[in-house]
């Protein structure tokens, strides 16, 4: 199909919107990959807890300015992360990965149901910063609130990277991820480090939930499952345990999603996102930032 200039502009705009929105996917993907990197386990309830944190931040929405609502969401996310660690990971035998996986599935469903019951399933308004600030650069239209989400997401990723690279907690996290026994022998508490990882991931998750709510404008229990799926896709494409991979993969997934929605429509859009995942699993199973793996 030949494309005229207008179509090309629309296509470019779609990709730009997708890239900006993809920051939320990156944040969710980082949370998944951080926990996997340290514990080699998947926390399937991560996205649900992130949205839960955003919901809980609505408690203060009429009392404090919007930036503090986001900060509250991050704090609550940290608390939820710690609770999930306690309930789903801490006391489950370490050599039983299926048990922790299933417990996080249960936690995902429980959080989703709790949100539905407490809110009667009704969408809740969520505050956005710069919602009415939009920029027109030539023919392109950039949403001010999405740019803010993008920049805040980048800041959160930089902060996380600094924490991991420049602090003792980050050192302990990396040590436990690489060699838990050796780390323990060096005096690093594995359980304390794991709990800290969940708290850090939860802080990031709360931020991600708040940014997802701000980008969309409303919160709804409908958001938990799609964000979980997208987060997992991002984690796999980026490379399990790779934070830079999750960042880039989130943007790619956001861009690809919007691109194929423009080209093929809403009913085929997700097919292409899953095809992208399949291509990576076949040709680069380690993800974006891993050495290509051997095949069976």
């Amino acid at each position: 199909m030949a494309m005229d200039l207008l179509d090309l502009l629309d296509l470019s705009q779609s990709v730009i919107d997708g890239l900006l929105f993809g920051t939320t996917y990156s944040l969710i993907g980082i949370g998944f990959t951080l926990i996997f990197g340290v514990m080699h386990k998947i926390n399937l309830s991560y996205a649900a807890a992130s949205i839960g944190a955003a919901y809980l931040s609505l408690i203060v929405v009429t009392a404090v300015p919007t930036p503090l609502v986001y900060a509250f969401a991050a704090l609550v996310g940290g608390v939820l992360g710690w609770l999930i660690y306690l309930i789903c990971f801490r006391f489950i035998p370490i050599n039983n990965p299926l048990a922790t996986l299933m417990s996080t599935v249960g936690m995902l469903l429980a959080i989703e149901e709790l949100i539905s019951h407490l809110t009667y399933g009704m969408p809740q308004n969520y505050p956005a910063l710069f919602a009415s600030s939009n920029f027109e650069i030539g023919q392109f239209f950039l949403r001010g609130d999405l740019i803010f989400v993008f920049l805040l997401g980048c800041a959160a990723m930089v902060a996380l990277t600094l924490l991991l690279k420049k602090t003792r907690l980050g050192l302990a996290t990396r040590a436990v991820a690489q060699q838990p026994v050796a780390a323990q022998l060096c005096g690093m508490g594995v359980n304390t480090t794991n709990a800290s990882t969940f708290i850090i991931a939860g802080l990031l998750g709360g931020t991600a939930g708040a940014m997802a709510g701000a980008a969309i404008g409303v919160l709804s229990p409908l958001m938990t499952l799609p964000l979980t799926v997208k987060g997992l896709v991002v984690t796999v494409i980026g490379g399990l345990g790779s934070i830079p991979g999750a960042i880039v993969a989130g943007l790619i997934v956001g861009g690809v999603e919007n691109l194929f929605q423009f080209l093929r429509g809403v009913s085929e859009r997700d097919i292409y996102v899953m095809l992208l995942l399949f291509v990576f699993l076949v040709f680069r199973p380690g993800g974006l930032f891993a050495a290509p793996g051997g095949r069976d």
Partner: protein, 403 residues
Amino acid sequence: MSRTSRFLGTALATAAAAMALAGNAAAQDKTIKIYGFGAKSGVVGIFGQQSEAAMQAAAAAINKAGGVTLGDGSKARLVIEYLDDRCTPEEGINALRRIASQQDSFVAIGPSCSNVAEPVFGILQKKAGDASDSGIQFPIYTDVAAKGGLASISEWSFRNVPSETNMYKAVFEWIKASRPDLKSFYGGVEKDFAHSNSTFNVIKTHAGNNGLEVKGQAEWLLNDTNFSNQVREMKRAGADVVAISAHPFTTCGVLKEMARQNVKPKLLIGLTSSSSMETLQGCGAQAEGLIIPTSFAPVTKEAREAAAAVQAINAKYNMDLHSAAAYENVFTLKTIIEQQKIMGRPDTIQADRQKMRQALATMKETTGLLGKVGRTADREAIKPFLFVQAKGGNWTVAHTPAQ
């Protein structure tokens, strides 16, 4: 009379009085049950919850007025039992089978979702009295599931839902008559939900039939959160009238994106199911001016009392066109129970179900909260309706068409 005789006489009189009192107490303890089933949990759980609340409110009003008169002339208290089908076909079929297996069930109100109603009606006996059809013989009287034509699936299925074809036909005829300046139409549709998808076809048809140029349509899914592509297409189309056939979550998402991209059509039309507090709570400011046809608004004394009764059950619940139908259904069924002398006992239950089905099938008219509700030959309802408009965070009546 000897002392012994007097004593015996007094004892007998006392015993007789005690037995009479016990008989009355037993009558007051008599109950008759109407079952309901619908989405009580999950993301559309508010539909089932509000239907249940409306049914409980109706039952409370009936019981306050003395209860239901059974076939033997005794009075019974009306009890409601509501099952959750989570808006999934499998759970809906399970719920119906469980209800039909009860020895006190002779009718059920529900379900909430059209994607549940279709398969549930599909397991009913197609033609009443067909011995070769082993389908379930149990009457269902639907309150919410609104996709067109479902009651024709089985002669055991009946609906008290408004005709969206008639409502949207009236909307576009009104637009044509009152707003001749409006020339073009653009639609947005939630593609993966039976109700919104089928109603959109109705909306688009009537828009075209009433002289509006259909400039295109945008599509999204129930779970979508990003509508920038769709709204950009809408903006390019520049239509005078935009119709959004979607439920509150994505309706709000689209309206907010329209505000961001400064898309301001001259007229906005919404889906019937979005004429609820959910929409106003999620995006009241962006929904300002949105017009939706509905079969409920608190514009009559009965409607206001019913709305207040539902709020008394739980202040979080509101009466809308869906829960209003559930409320009406309970009163209709109460009338049928009394007219058909239904007993609701295990030994009468099969006959009760047949009587209920026959009565529902031969009904010509019922009493609704906005006025008389007609019945069609294919077991659907002809409900009075009006148009509401979002104004200042509330739904106000925009127009009451002649019907």
